[in-house]
């Protein structure tokens, strides 16, 4: 009986997390269009609802109502499978992130943790699921039977394999300091001292390498070679329309959200907010709420950085991309591991 209740509670928690994530993602799209508009000296969508707040729902309606075109000579099964893999892989990482500390529901003594699953190898789980996500793009490019799609798919897989290495290695410094792969424990270790124990202070090089590799992993500007519209029309999703296109779009934004959450969790203290533990009791409702909002705020700052970069930087050339990943980022990540290991050996 207990397990049944447990399973139902987990389902509820997963649903809540998904709804929150999808809402944030929907408004990230809106924020991207408004911020890009601001950077480019124009307005952006501001007509649907007050200042455009209902635009995401209008977009969704449009995606659903548009004609869904399947190319005649595509490989149908894989053509349908690809967006499913991309979206599913993006959503599946959501369950291991600690969104906040334990939170006590007001007027009761029930405490619920704001993390869906404690997983001994949470970090490796995230990396594993992310590496599955590349199949969505590759298979989409192959099954569309379109040369632009295929080139986009090939580029993306080459790019993701190359930058996955630097991404994984840049996190090893944090793992060495924490001594665990459990994300909740890594966040717990960063609490206290009002932000002076956040890993960013001890791992600045690791953070820079992570941030660059993460942007490349999510195929965003300046590393958006897989969908370089000046060369490849729209890259791997050229032949996709209506809701299937929307799924790729969704997957890209969820991936942005995921890597931002990982950066926050590993380098910027997760849900820890400085100062507030002077005034509030750990475990009180308000403490939990402010911590969770602090987490969301930090993630949103990263999302803003993404949009900012998109409005600012031009695109890399493909050979520049490859040599940057292999000849600069990878050695820097290794150097970071070496420095961290030496510091631990001599000073701790």
């Amino acid at each position: 009986m207990d397990t049944a209740i447990d399973i139902i509670l987990k389902f509820v928690a997963i649903t809540v997390a998904f709804v929150v994530v999808l809402l944030v993602v929907a408004y990230t799209v809106l924020a991207e269009r408004r911020v890009l508009g601001f950077i480019q000296g124009r307005l952006g969508p501001n007509r649907v609802g007050y200042g455009g707040v209902l635009q995401p729902f209008a977009d969704l309606l449009k995606f659903i109502l548009k004609e869904d075109i399947v190319p005649d000579k595509s490989t149908r099964f894989i053509y349908f499978l690809a967006p499913v893999i991309a979206t599913m892989a993006a959503l599946m990482t959501m369950i291991v992130y600690p969104f906040g500390p334990e939170i006590r529901i007001p007027f009761t003594s029930i405490s619920i943790p704001l993390v869906i699953a404690h997983f001994d190898v949470g970090l490796l789980y995230v990396l594993g699921i992310t590496s599955i996500g590349v199949y969505g793009i590759m298979l989409a490019g192959w099954s569309s039977n379109n040369k632009y799609s295929l080139m986009g798919g090939l580029r993306s897989s080459a790019q993701m394999i190359s930058y996955e290495l630097a991404l994984g290695l840049s996190l090893i410094g944090v793992i060495m300091l924490a001594g665990t792969l459990d994300l909740a424990q890594i966040v717990d270790q960063q609490s206290g001292w009002h932000g002076a124990r956040w890993n960013i202070i001890y791992q600045p090089l690791g953070f820079v390498v992570y941030l660059i590799a993460a942007i490349a992993e999510t195929n965003r500007v300046p590393f958006d070679l897989p969908e370089a519209e000046t060369e490849l029309v729209a890259g791997f999703h050229t032949e996709y329309s209506a809701m299937k296109f929307a799924l790729f779009f969704l997957a890209e934004y969820i991936n942005m959200f995921t890597v931002s959450m990982l950066a926050t969790t590993l380098f910027w203290g997760g849900w820890n907010v400085p100062i507030i533990d002077l005034f509030l009791d750990r475990g009180s409702f308000l403490f939990g709420l402010i911590s969770a909002l602090g987490f969301l705020f930090k993630v949103c700052v990263f999302l803003f950085v993404y949009i900012w970069l998109r409005g600012t930087l031009p695109r890399f050339r493909f050979d520049q991309l490859m040599s940057f990943g292999w000849k600069i980022l990878l050695p820097l990540a290794l150097l970071n591991i070496f420095i961290t290991a030496s510091a631990i050996y001599f000073f701790l």
């Binding site: 894989i78 001994d120 490796l124 789980y125 990396l127 490019g141 295929l150 394999i161």
Partner: protein, 216 residues
């Protein structure tokens, strides 16, 4: 509950494994193989070995199979599908070998009547790390040297005779491939053929240093 999950993932693993062999299209086989790896990872999680499960997904499903799919995408898949099966004469041998394997498994299951409960911490990150760097340090280091040799060997083979001139900016993934290679379903009319008398002239047309075109 655990038994139900075991049946689900074991069934998935066996179904996908059958599909790997049964499919004529190599890409479908590769996708089925990814399915096998993922179901195996789920089984590892159920056996309290989360680290092995994560590595299974990251290394096999996430890295090796990506390269396999990458290569298959560049091959002429449809031709392979249409060609008739030339290895039919090997079917009896396969049946015999499968029978031997099943007999072996049956013998194992029978001889271990009362299996001792597995050591529960064998697949955790800490225990694997401790074992690798103490008891199995020498095999671990030898394996890494072996891998390094393989990388160096691959680099040497790939660069032999095929060095590109400094002007030709050809990089993996960005080469200009003939359309028939990229897309098996394209009509051959899309290609414009240029006939040359010698490989030197071909190299000159392609913008590659002619001194480096000779293999070996």
């Amino acid at each position: 509950m655990l038994a139900l999950l075991f049946i689900l993932f074991a069934g998935m693993a066996i179904g996908c494994a059958l599909a790997v062999v049964a499919q004529r299209n190599p890409l479908y086989s590769a996708i089925s193989l990814i399915g096998v790896f993922v179901s195996l990872a789920c089984l590892y999680v159920m056996l309290a070995a989360p680290f092995i499960a994560a590595v299974q997904v990251i290394v096999y499903a996430g890295a090796i199979m990506v390269l396999v799919v990458f290569v298959i995408m560049l091959l002429n898949v449809e031709q392979e599908e249409r060609r008739r099966n030339r290895l039919k004469f090997l079917v009896p041998a396969a049946v015999v070998l499968a029978a031997v394997l099943i007999a072996e498994v049956a013998f194992m299951l029978q001889s271990v009547a009362n299996p001792t409960p597995a050591v529960s911490n064998i697949g955790l990150t800490g225990s694997i790390g401790a074992q690798l760097f103490t008891r199995y340090l020498l095999p671990f280091e030898i394996t890494s040297i072996l891998l390094l040799m393989a990388i160096v060997g691959a680099m040497t083979l790939a660069r032999r005779g095929g060095l590109l001139s400094s002007e030709a900016r050809l990089v993996p993934g960005a080469q200009q491939l003939p359309l028939s290679m990229v897309d098996p379903r394209a009509t051959p009319d899309d290609l414009t053929l240029v006939e040359t008398d010698s490989s030197e002239e071909a190299a000159r047309l392609l913008g590659v240093d002619p001194r480096n075109t000779e293999r070996d």
